[in-house]
Symmetry: C2
Subunit: 398 residues, 2 copies
């Protein structure tokens, strides 16, 4: 591996995983002049395209991890999938893994997460482990019956590994995975919220404004910061809940707590993520300190930057892979139409439904911001104005 | 050279020169997913540290330039020193050099610049070429006598190649350079301003708010955006003047027009720079579109982003090399004292007086912003509060 010995002698940070989260961490690391030793899945993945000190290899291989971590006091992550025993080995060899394996466990395993949150008194949907169809039926019968949600405890993301089932037969696919499952009540929610905090190694915590996130087929599609109309006391409750979880689980770096706001006004924790999160991408353009910079500051145990919003509202819309192969061709129209829009592309090959970038707009009027950001994202996806109009009208009817 | 073939098939941009301007262009290129082929002076210079597709070589060598430009439709620059004949050769071979050699000439040669501006009717200090001491005396006698300013027509930067002389004897050093000289009146100025514009290949122009810049020993030290108390009509005059110069000289990319605001209220052009400029670093945190992103958009002939300021005032203070070798050690104090401050370090080895980074603060109160940014810069430079206080008081007396 090539290693840059920085002339300014900053500590080198190891990042495991070469997706867009690592790419945007690297972008933030440029300003801090922190060199990054990257472990990438391939030579041309998103983060490897913009980092000269990349090792290509498998994060499940301890020797590879040792190579990447060599000379690095701190190791952090693009994803939560590194085997905990490898993290414990790196830690024992003097490389601080942040977040550490004891915290990452709760992002890796949904049953562990539910057990920990329940122990901490954090409100969650009603849940139980279910080993077979009979247990699933008992779980449903103990509540309002079917439908209920069934989730694999491990390996799910972006809606994968989650089923809404009408009865035990419908859970056949879930049981067929062979992965341990939990069942959860199907929450009657008004909307989804996300509370994002950065927590440093020595325990400083910064809480970003609580946002509303909108999913499409289980994938984050839009984020509005702050969540419109959220009462101040409920926002504070969500922030304090996220800070409590971060502290109690000893999370270092960014923690995203995804929440349901129920129709009867309660907050229930849906998921935890221990890395910069899609619901925090708006912070790059919309907050004083972006989540990627604060993640770096947190894992390097530097004082955190202000999470304050810079505009009354910031809206982020994901660009998903569509019918257009060359995203660059979207620039002339998108940039000419809206000189105030911020575009972030990840350098990823376009595949249908894959997250390949996001756009951000900020200002006073949420509806106008949504129109601008949706138009741009749709254009990059190869959808044109008539389709965008239809969607906007559909959304307005919802 | 390693070349990343971007999965999204964006055009690759060639950048000649590996200083901090190229580094910050690369940082902006990450969001646009535009791969950069970099020509760097050494393997660990500022921009090379954060770019995986770097060629190390000499920008005065045409073959090296050809290697870097290979596969690139557009070539742009970290500095203005590439020999024009090489640029013409690259251009003829299908690599659009932006800005082009016909424009760069006016940033490379001060006599050519003065002649062009005079021809365009752009107000300049009184000036003349001076071949020897007798011509210098005649120049002085035709005005208010000595002192006058003597400049080399080529090769000067950051105050080098500029002398304020009391008489012809004092110009001996200048004549000894063997470089052609011009003489200029010593302008009685109130302050220095900078008008920054981005101009795209097809002629779209975006003008940033006009800023006040403060020099120290000929080096840019502080910038206040917008220039406090500048009458709207004078700001408009400066913007229009910069747009006119950009159009008439066919500049593509960022053009910085450095101006004197005279004590009797006129604007006189001091210098031109045809690249992102120190007086525009504030835009990274203080404007909707940073100058580095707009430089990329301009040279790639994409529509320009809004140059609008995001806060009433943004202040930038340069970090110059001081007594501290390891800038990273400044973070714990600087970040803890001021969570809203933005820090940009360039990864450069610390040498006395060398530009190694900058800090930015934005808000309503210029004095408070200056105090915050000066404190942080001074801390990175190894100066402590008592010295900073003295300087602030000295500045207040000026």
């Amino acid at each position: 591996m090539v290693r840059v010995d920085s002339p300014i002698d900053s500590p080198v940070l190891a990042i495991v995983g070469g997706g867009q989260l690592a790419r945007m961490m690297e972008q933030a690391a440029v300003s801090l002049a922190v060199p990054v030793s990257l472990l990438a899945e391939g030579p041309d993945v998103s983060a490897a395209q913009v980092n000269p000190t990349t090792t290509v290899g498998d994060y499940r291989d301890l020797e590879t991890l040792r190579t990447v971590a060599s000379g690095c006091a701190v190791v952090t992550f693009d994803h939560e999938h590194v085997p905990p025993e490898h993290l414990r080995a790196l830690d024992a060899e003097g490389h601080a893994c942040r977040p550490g394996p004891h915290a990452l466990l709760y992002a890796q395993d949904k049953r562990e997460m539910r057990e920990a949150l329940t122990r901490l008194g954090v409100p969650c949907p009603r849940w139980a482990p279910v080993a077979d169809a009979a247990e699933l039926e008992r779980f449903a019968a103990a509540g309002d019956g079917f439908p209920v949600v069934v989730k694999t405890t491990r390996g799910g993301y972006d809606g994968k590994g989650v089923w809404v089932v009408d009865g035990p037969e419908a859970a056949a696919d879930a049981f067929a995975t062979g992965v341990p499952l939990i069942a959860e009540e199907l929450v009657d929610f008004r909307r989804e919220l996300s509370a994002l905090v950065a927590r440093s190694a020595s325990g400083q915590v910064a809480a970003y404004p609580v946002v509303e996130s909108r999913q499409e087929n289980g994938v984050c599609r839009e984020v509005i910061a702050p969540a419109p109309g959220l009462p101040a006391e409920r926002a504070a409750e969500a922030e304090m809940l996220a800070m409590k979880v971060a502290a109690e689980l000893d999370v270092v770096g960014i923690l995203a707590v995804e929440l349901f706001e129920t129709v009867d006004g309660r907050l229930l924790v849906n998921e935890l993520a221990m890395r910069p999160h899609n619901t925090g991408h708006w912070t790059m353009d919309g907050a004083v300190t972006g989540q990627f910079e604060n993640h770096l500051r947190a894992v390097l145990d530097l004082p955190l930057g202000s999470p304050r919003a810079r505009a009354p509202y910031t809206v982020m819309v994901n660009i998903l892979g569509g019918e257009v192969g060359r995203l660059y061709d979207g620039y002339p129209h998108v940039m000419a139409r809206d000189p105030d829009l911020k575009v972030h592309l990840y350098g990823k090959a376009v595949k249908p439904g894959r997250k390949v970038g996001h756009v951000t707009a900020y200002g006073d009027d949420v509806d106008a911001l949504l129109e601008r950001a949706r138009h741009a994202a749709a254009w990059f996806e190869g959808r044109r104005d008539d389709e965008i109009e239809d969607e906007a009208q559909e959304a307005a009817r919802d």
